[in-house]
């Protein structure tokens, strides 16, 4: 009797384990039904992951103000992110990276010419990817991605323009020379933060 009970118990447990595991796999199959071209299938995952965060403020400001307003919001979020890096605040940069992803996604290039649209969309896709990485990486990586993000934002401003006076600053030491944008003429280095706060120079003024 004892052995029967035990056998039944074992069989039951095994069944539960298999059932549990197959459920897990079943779900997986759904979002990856087409194994060979699943680039599209995996893409939405990353956007979902970055949905949370305080984007409400931006949304409110962005309503019905046209293209430039949205570019200005991107810039504002970029500057906040830059300031977090200047302050060596990785956690804050995580949050602000997420905020920037949202404002980049919110940008709509419809009002620009065809050629500009293409360029802008290209810039935005790239910038979104780097902002996403910033939202989930340690400080060192955040700064690496900030370098490319800065290039993207500089190129974006070249097309969209901005109402604010900006300074393109340059640090020759970081990664073979790296640029960034600031609203302040005084150099505060986002690539080194406190360890070399004032390294760099203004290389160009915008507006």
């Amino acid at each position: 009797m004892k052995t029967v009970k035990r056998t039944v118990g074992i069989a039951f447990l095994a069944l539960v384990t298999v059932a549990f595991v197959s459920c897990k796999d079943g779900n997986k199959d759904h979002d990856n039904s087409d194994g060979h071209h699943d680039n599209e299938a995996s893409a939405p995952m990353s956007s979902e992951m970055h949905q949370e965060g305080d984007t409400d403020v931006n949304k409110d400001m962005a309503t019905n103000e046209g293209q430039d307003a949205k570019a200005e919001i991107i810039l504002k979020d970029y500057f906040n992110l830059k300031d977090a890096l200047v302050a060596d605040d990785s956690d804050k940069a995580h949050t602000l990276g997420t905020t920037l992803v949202a404002s980049l996604k919110d940008f709509d290039s419809a009002a620009y010419s065809k050629g500009q649209q293409e360029e802008l969309n290209d810039i935005l896709v790239d910038a979104i990817e780097h902002a996403e990485h910033i939202s989930e990486s340690p400080m060192e990586h955040q700064r690496e991605h900030f370098k490319i993000l800065s290039k993207d934002v500089i190129d974006m401003v070249a097309i969209t323009g901005t109402a604010t006076k900006l300074y393109e600053q340059f640090c020759p030491m970081y990664d073979g020379g790296s640029a960034w944008l600031s609203t302040n003429k005084e150099v505060r280095n986002p690539y080194y933060g406190s360890s070399m706060l004032k390294c760099g120079k203004v290389q160009r003024e915008i507006n």
Binding site: I10, A14, V18, N32, G35, I148
Partner: protein, 150 residues
Amino acid sequence: MRIVKIIVIVLLVAFVGIQFIPTTRNQSETVPQSDFMQVHRVPEAIQEKLQTSCYDCHSNNTQYPWYNKIQPVAWFLEDHIKEGKAELNFNEWDSLSSRRKASKLRSIIKQIESGEMPLDSYTIIHKDAEFSEEEAENMINWITRLKDSL
């Protein structure tokens, strides 16, 4: 003692059981025109290294040695491939703009430089995927030149 025996038996049964659950294999017969190696002239040594160290998770075609077909290793791998391809798919390289290409190449360099790629969990069973110091240097130099020529 009895409980240990039971647990062992349960695990064994479960292990056998999960082998029957099908997984999606990341395999493709053809190499598309948009593949990295079709688009650029890649030296043979670099090609080989990319194939062994990167293409399993960053292309549409994974080499499956026997242990990769066993659960739960296969699931673990499946997840990594999905993530890897979303980040970078060498087979679809040419669908990226020059800006995106340069951006990806820069990331590849950083990943190899910092030793983050290939993943430790991958090289632990794929010893040949590891980069020797010399291999890393050659790869980084070549990719840097490619990036600058874009």
